[in-house]
């Protein structure tokens, strides 16, 4: 039996007909929309490479059935920059060498963006490590990742201060 769903992906509405309910959001993004920035690492919710935002919240797209997310608003790594202007978290990852091979990086960046929206970490490196523990990096770029997130978080706090001033 076919099922029709529609999603908003990076601001654009997309309609799909699913001929099989087994399709995850991860596979839908990669195979149907060719948005291959979202990575398939473990495919079992352990590594975080597939992290996307759904309704503004970070989740593992490998453990989410597309059919169950009819109507969802999705943000992937392809949707975070404004044209050629990198998202501040992307820029901070480059500035701080927050990666080596780069495979986990889209998930790390989406997770960091989600974490900043959650407002739970602040400028405490220990909190950042705890709040980012769902993203593994086999190259071990954690020190750079934490520095990048700290800088992005500081920049976001500064922007908020200016806005409220």
């Amino acid at each position: 039996m076919n099922h029709s769903i529609s999603l908003t992906v990076n601001g654009a509405r997309r309609d799909f007909v699913l001929d099989d309910p087994r399709v995850t959001l991860l596979d839908l993004l990669r195979e149907r929309l060719h948005l291959t920035g979202t990575k398939k690492g473990c495919d079992r919710g352990q590594c975080g490479a597939c992290t996307i935002l759904v309704g503004g919240k970070r989740i593992n797209s490998c453990l989410a059935l597309a059919i169950s997310h009819d109507g969802a608003d999705i943000l992937t790594i392809e949707g975070v920059a404004r044209g050629d202007q990198l998202h501040p978290v992307q820029a901070a990852f480059i500035a701080h060498d927050g990666f080596q091979c780069g495979f986990c990086t889209p998930g790390q960046i989406m997770s960091a963006i989600g974490m900043m929206r959650e407002g739970q970490a602040g400028d405490d490196p220990e909190r950042i490590r705890e709040c980012m523990s769902g993203n593994l990096c086999r190259c071990g770029a954690y020190a750079g990742i934490v520095d990048a997130v700290l800088e992005a978080q500081a920049g976001a706090s500064e922007t908020n201060r200016r806005r409220s001033a």
């Binding site: 039996m1 099922h3 099989d20 309910p21 087994r22 995850t24 495919d43 079992r44 919710g45 975080g48 992290t51 919240k57 970070r58 989740i59 593992n60 490998c62 453990l63 989410a64 059935l65 059919i67 169950s68 009819d70 997770s111 989600g114 974490m115 959650e118 739970q120 405490d124 220990e126 909190r127 490590r129 705890e130 709040c131 980012m132 523990s133 769902g134 993203n135």
Partner: protein, 351 residues
């Protein structure tokens, strides 16, 4: 993954009717179920998606002072609800010590209660497992079993229940509201999960079609907010299941423990309420001696199920330290590393 059919019922009654069919199972976030299905551990014929059902995603204060938590409330939303975290701090701390931020954002309250064991032999379909396939045997019994049960286990199964959330909930006498084929009923959370005996294939007291619609905290559960902690030892500081955990909650008046609640996680097929230890604590002055005595009492019936005798002593120490921390008072802020005995703000050097 084995093919399956999918339905999205519009009402709870439709959901119950659909899920009562043989081979059917409920789908909420799917953070555990999809993992199990990908591994061929769970092989449902029909998924009954309850995520779109109305009215199950609310946190409702009740007139009697209790709280009703809808089964579809996300773990993270509950833990970060300010009123909830203030009133039930050990529950919020337990939630934040579980899984990763991504999983907590997706996973639901009902799903957390019904997550399956993390026993590696249950997950490995090439191994014998009485829980996965009744009567097939238990390869954990003579296998790698250092994290397995030390309480309530049987020769058929030595698996543990992995939930952190359930541990303080069972200590606080949480109640589970269930919608089933014969209508609404409720049971104590302590009666939801089953010890294995010779039927480990049945995790819970639920019948086919039963849907958890809410978890309720009784009015008395608020009375422990000033002295409540959850403490969890894991193989790594974050994003790992408990080797042993403990939820301790006290009411202290005039230098005496008026009421005590204690439960352990990672030690049995269910969250383990330690009522005998609570009796030891009640009426006593909150000092190290009585905490040690309570810890001894909590593990009186414990016995190793394999290479895990260390968990019994570890559990005693975690109980004593959780009680020490609870007596010192709930921290004003959630610790940077929730539930970690290694957190810089844990407040005690050693129990």
């Amino acid at each position: 993954m084995k093919p399956f059919d999918y339905v999205r019922p519009a009402t709870v009654a439709e959901a119950v009717a659909a899920a009562a069919q043989p081979g059917a199972t409920y789908l909420a976030a799917g953070t555990n179920l999809l993992d199990l299905m990908k591994g061929g551990v769970s092989r449902p014929d029909l998924l009954v998606d309850v995520t779109h059902l109305k009215g199950l995603d609310r946190i409702e204060p009740l007139a009697d002072g209790g709280l009703r938590i809808g089964a579809l409330v996300r773990n993270a939303d509950l833990a970060h609800d300010e009123d909830f975290a203030r009133s039930y701090p050990a529950v919020a701390e337990a939630l934040l010590s579980g899984a990763s931020a991504q999983l907590r954002n997706a996973a639901t309250v009902g799903g957390n209660l019904l997550q399956r064991t993390r026993c590696a032999y249950f997950y490995d379909t090439a191994s014998r497992c009485n829980k996965r396939e009744a009567g097939s045997g238990c390869d954990a019994r003579d296998g790698e079993n250092r994290t397995h049960a030390v309480l309530g286990w049987s020769e058929s199964c030595i698996a543990t229940h992995p939930s952190d959330f359930c541990v303080p909930l069972v200590a606080l006498d949480a109640i589970v509201e269930i919608e089933g084929r014969k209508g609404r009923r409720e049971i104590a959370l302590d009666g939801l999960h089953r010890l294995p005996a010779d039927t480990p294939e049945r995790d819970s007291a639920l019948e086919p079609g039963d849907l958890i619609v809410a978890v309720r905290l009784p009015p008395a559960a608020r009375g422990f907010a000033a002295h409540a902690r959850y403490l969890k030892v894991r193989e790594r500081t974050s994003y790992a299941f408990a080797v042993v955990s403990a939820a301790a909650a006290l009411q202290i008046e005039n230098g005496r423990i008026k009421e005590a609640r204690l439960a352990l996680g990672g030690v049995a097929a269910k969250p383990w309420r330690a009522r005998g230890a609570e009796d030891v604590l009640k009426g006593a002055a909150p000092d190290a001696a009585v905490f040690q005595q309570a810890a001894q009492r909590a593990l009186t019936e414990a016995k190793p199920s394999g290479d895990n005798a260390f968990k019994i002593e570890l559990a005693r120490r975690i109980v004593a330290r959780a009680l020490t921390l609870a007596a010192a008072g709930t921290p004003a802020r959630m610790p940077a590393l929730p539930a970690s005995p290694f957190a810089s703000t844990s407040g005690a050097i050693h129990a």
